[in-house]
């Protein structure tokens, strides 16, 4: 597509064409995403092992988490994935303004997600529900979990999985902020939008992780 024209300023000398450069970057991103899947799989395996050992504990404790907050956060993250997909759709059609608007909407949705996560965490911390050794629940909603065996393991798994997921959301917000700035300066076009595409892939993977976390922790 671009080989016949003069070289694009973003084309690096070791690539034949923008297309080849794009494909190579995307391939590298998929390899990185697989390492991300493997990172989270360690935690999913830990969850599965504890659940197989103590199914009744995990079933009982899923009610300790508010499915309404988790559900709203699921919808918010799905919406953010939708806006990311739209932003790529628009930049492929050279609509820079629509791309930036959708990226900003994505950052907004991610912010809502992190705010709800903050409410959930602070609600637990204020009732002594901490990960690991500090676990000492008290009060109305959490007090009766103090003597439930393996409840600390459930909450530790909850905090570590949602915590590392939350860090990924924060990193995504940062990268999207950079993309929104660069996009508003006109850096991206249908010829060159690799950073938007790759960050989009990352964001969709973070969404998929949450798609599994939500039922496993909040529902069943």
């Amino acid at each position: 597509m671009s080989t016949a024209k003069a070289a694009h300023p973003k084309l690096q000398h070791h690539f034949v064409s923008m297309e080849q450069q794009f494909d190579a970057s995307k391939f590298g991103m998929w390899l990185f995403l697989v390492t991300e899947i493997l990172l989270f799989s360690g935690m999913f395996v830990a969850y599965t092992v504890y659940r197989v050992w103590h199914p009744e504990v995990f079933e009982a404790l899923s009610t300790a988490l508010d499915w309404r907050l988790g559900g709203v956060n699921t919808l918010v993250l799905l919406a953010s994935s939708f806006t990311v997909a739209l932003s790529i759709h628009h930049i492929q059609n050279d609509n820079q303004r629509a791309m930036v608007i959708n990226i900003l909407l994505t950052i907004l949705f991610a912010g809502v997600f992190m705010f709800i996560k903050y409410l959930e965490y602070s609600g637990k911390f204020s009732h002594g529900v901490f990960p690991g050794e500090a676990y000492a629940p008290f009060g109305d909603h959490y007090g009766h979990y103090a003597d439930v065996p393996y409840a600390p393991q459930f909450f530790s798994i909850y905090f570590v999985m949602t915590g590392i997921h939350g860090v990924h959301v924060l990193i995504g917000m940062g990268v999207f902020a950079w993309i929104a700035i660069k996009g508003s300066q006109g850096l991206f076009s249908s010829e060159y939008y690799t950073p938007v595409e790759l960050t989009g892939l990352y964001w969709h993977l973070v969404d998929i992780i949450w798609i599994f976390l939500f039922p496993l922790l909040y529902l069943i």
Binding site: M1, T3, V16, S17, E19, Q20, F22, D23, K26, F27, W30, L31, L33, V34, I37, L38, S41, G42, F44, V45, T48, V49, V52, W53, E59, W67, G71, T74, L75, L78, A79, S81, F82, V84, A85, L86, H89, Q92, N93, S190, G200, L201, H204, L205, D207, I208, I211, F212, F214, P215, L216, L219, I220
Partner: protein
Amino acid sequence: MAHAEHAHHITPFRTLLGVFLGLVFLTILTVTTSRLDLGVLDVPVALAIALGKAALVVVFFMALKWDNRVNGVVLALGVLFVSIFLVFTLFDTAFRGDTSNVDEVTIKDAEAELAAPAGDADHGESAPAADH
């Protein structure tokens, strides 16, 4: 690189919107089914819906449907190794205590005998000691 010259696939707006609405529907569905008591089906149903949602995101939002085949192979290999990780860990943890036991009764049977009234305790005690 046979198609190096072709233009990128642009996913139509209607497709993206349809996928998003499908994901919202499946989210409502998984919440609804989890609030019914499906017994042993609770976990499989929730996981099946989550897998369906993940597939929608991968195929349409991540556009793997129209992407170079090699990226799909990378993802499939990742999923394969996660499966190996999970299944082989469970081979250990889900059957721990029984696999290396060469006694006539399994550890679980021996534990049940230990828990039973003291009259029959002789046989039961030897079994756990023989293991590990």
